[in-house]
Symmetry: C2
Subunit: 563 residues, 2 copies
Amino acid sequence: METTLKTIKQPLTDLEIANRAELRPIVDIAEKAGIPEEAVEQYGRYKAKIDVKKLPKTTKNGKVVLVTAISPTPAGEGKSTVTVGLADALSQLGNQTMVALREPSLGPVMGMKGGAAGGGYSQVVPMEEINLHFTGDLHAITTANNALSALIDNHIHRGNSLNIDPRRITWKRVLDMNDRALRHITVGLGGPANGVPREDGFDITVASEIMAILCLAKDIDDLRTRLSNIVIGYTYDKEPVYVKDLDVQGALTLLLKDALKPNIVQTIGGTPAMIHGGPFANIAHGCNSLMATLTAKKLSDIVVTEAGFGSDLGAEKFMNIKSRQGGFQPDAVVIVATVRALKMHGGVPKDKLKAENVQAIVAGLPNMKKHIETIREFGIEPVIALNRFTADTENELNAVMGWCHDNGVKAAITEVWEHGGTGGLELGKAVMQQLDQHVDFQFLYDVEDAFEDKVRKIVQKVYGGQDIHFTDQALKQLVDIKRNGWDVLPVCMAKTQYSFSDDPKLLGRPEGFTITVRELIPKLGAGFIVCLTGDIMTMPGLPKVPAAMNMDVDHEGNAVGLM
Amino acid sequence: METTLKTIKQPLTDLEIANRAELRPIVDIAEKAGIPEEAVEQYGRYKAKIDVKKLPKTTKNGKVVLVTAISPTPAGEGKSTVTVGLADALSQLGNQTMVALREPSLGPVMGMKGGAAGGGYSQVVPMEEINLHFTGDLHAITTANNALSALIDNHIHRGNSLNIDPRRITWKRVLDMNDRALRHITVGLGGPANGVPREDGFDITVASEIMAILCLAKDIDDLRTRLSNIVIGYTYDKEPVYVKDLDVQGALTLLLKDALKPNIVQTIGGTPAMIHGGPFANIAHGCNSLMATLTAKKLSDIVVTEAGFGSDLGAEKFMNIKSRQGGFQPDAVVIVATVRALKMHGGVPKDKLKAENVQAIVAGLPNMKKHIETIREFGIEPVIALNRFTADTENELNAVMGWCHDNGVKAAITEVWEHGGTGGLELGKAVMQQLDQHVDFQFLYDVEDAFEDKVRKIVQKVYGGQDIHFTDQALKQLVDIKRNGWDVLPVCMAKTQYSFSDDPKLLGRPEGFTITVRELIPKLGAGFIVCLTGDIMTMPGLPKVPAAMNMDVDHEGNAVGLM
């Protein structure tokens, strides 16, 4: 293995690997997944939407493997890559498998990240189409979000019979773009013909409540009901104003009717992949759509899916929000860790990661240990996927695997970037063993718990913190939330992904900390109350040299410069 | 005929007619049009993009029939409906025919108009998909336009090495939405992390120069060149700043690579229809894409296409801009007129249009006569399509047809809304006769003419006006345009569509008027200089009761309330 790695002088980019993959027509992939042709709406040759109404009735109810990670670091952990590689491995091991992922946001593609569809030989393809406009879901969400904004401003301009206070409109416009200049703007300038002047701002599309709604809706009627329940702001009397008051939920539903249909593509290994929905993992719940996950459960024996960031954010919300609303539970959980990230949690700066440093790994392991404990709080015994990078040494890998062995934690080294599913067979076997175990799943809190108790349980059991503190502003908002009866909703924590605490600099396993809740944002359509802790960015900016600078189209019409 | 009309008590809506139409799979329509399967990229079952690189070589060079109209009035003329009906009629008459239309903008669909894909039994289908997200072209243009905006603001925020003057950025953001509150905004507020504060505004997507560019590009390399030539603003030294200075033309091309491929759908009558691109007919040239028209010419004997508004706007630009850049010419021109519109030009207000009024028609005919003269200026003898509405009386229809007969103008009554192609057979025959005639086509001006002379020729020969007047601002801009060597580009007039003059209230055939040019806007990517006359709206607003209020999705997942 080591030899093979060294002979690769100039490894191919993800895009090059994706472009060299031999794709099968999506109708063949769909047929293999048990999807009849009449349910397949092709978008080009290699991607399609599924009309779930046309799927055959089935009693199949596949098991769900959730892939999460230790606290992310700039070193990278490769969670999507492991998710795809594990699905391919499970396919190779004879299971009818499907992978369910979030769809990438175009804004970050133009900015920092390039693409987001796995990596190396564990990618979903066609990579460039998935990373650009795909099947238009994000564009539909942008359109619905901004149609609502235009309808709100038009309502005020045309007499404001609902008595909406323009200073208390909480519904913002969105673009699928990293555009810091749109964070804080004033609109309606230039005289009476141009509406009522007010402060506003744009978020990135994945931060739109409509994205969260699309990802939690069970069908088109549920979608309409959720859209009608969105609170867009407050009247001069501080009463909430709903979309149903504006009576435009029908138009928004119409704009979203095709976006609600799950998308199917394939992995390089040929496993069917549902890529659908991609809400932020901080101010939203950070998982692909419920429609995709539930559809995949009906079509396969094992569904491999992921949730955003570490187990403290994405996985917690996967269980307490998505699983609860969807009426299912994960049957196994994989925690992705890397030698590099553990070294950073052990105190090594990013530019010193290449040198072997077993001591730093040992110092960083408490972070992984806490993630294991967190998953156990839900009644599930996790499996560690140690995702190997080329610079990792045997001593370093042994340090992690040895710790797992000594502490009775199932673990496997994965080499899925380089070898696809074949590099994930050990992990696949470990997961299959785990799926044979009985799981006594439990939510962390009941929705009927007092609101503060729900937050405290997350902080204590998931983050390992000591207590919570609500700012005066948050306390005031909580009074209003209770008065409106909204406190029975689940909690959606918005916290830095870099630390269990609300201080991004506290890596490893901080203890004894208090989480400060600064602001509460009711998301009545999505069905949760966002708890803001620390600064959460809902509109990213572009870096000094945006990824866009390297992009182009070659003479064959193929993308160049997507990473 | 008259009897049939009266028995229809409750005529079906356009959406109901479209939904009841039996559509053929788009691969069958494409095959009928001579498009091999490998060139067809399906978007669902009934729409597709065409990869023109995969079309077979052919020497076919179909004739082009341009459909234009008399000066539009609120009474409506049904130009798209006649375009579709004529194409179906020509198909019925044994010609291999294709129709090429603009794609609708979603913003107006939510606002005033409902859909825009013909009407009655002369529609392109699937109507609801064409009117909503279609194949995502407008979303791609929105994204590319706003990516450029974000990259400009990021450049300034990151040190502004190009010395761009934030007060002189002419590149605006866009949304495919009627949203008056975004016309005039300030961006970059909230402190140094959020960019540089400046004035900005959003146009509707169809007003983006990128839309005009997409519609005039011959291939992907031409697209990239045009994008690189866009002027986004000026430096502090008042020198133009191009996209190529920012070096992001590659990324913009990548975002547009699929949008550049023409879309194919079908008419209710089964004629293949290219629907691709839809630039504004005032500040841009108002025709579907050159790619669609030229592709249709290679695939059919007759291409029926249209241009925005009356012959003074869309047709003039079709000839002087689109045909010139595309290296082809129209072989016949149809001018659509209606009894109702002629009555309005004859002085009848909108609420009195139902009463028979032959005298008003006679008073309105000079408007039609001037449109006939305008088309003759290009060396083409037009055919009048008198598009019948149910309330039109025999006396009224006879008044128009009699005038045409007496003046040696070919004319036919069309009933295409109610009868599809069968209602356009007379028009089809007249057009076929005209296509047998020799055409001695001529442009109205040479691009080498002095800039003022180009404008004057349009005003005198096309509008029938007396002279031109440039405001001081326009004169100053003309000096800069000449200094930069841009005055050799064609002229794109931005004028009210309601009158030959720049005063929308002067209906009929005004004479002796002067056109005031208020402002010149260089569009170096599109390849023309816009001459603004009067107030031109580039971001519409929503009406008191937006069309969105009536929209929804029924239990079968079909659209409700699109008009």
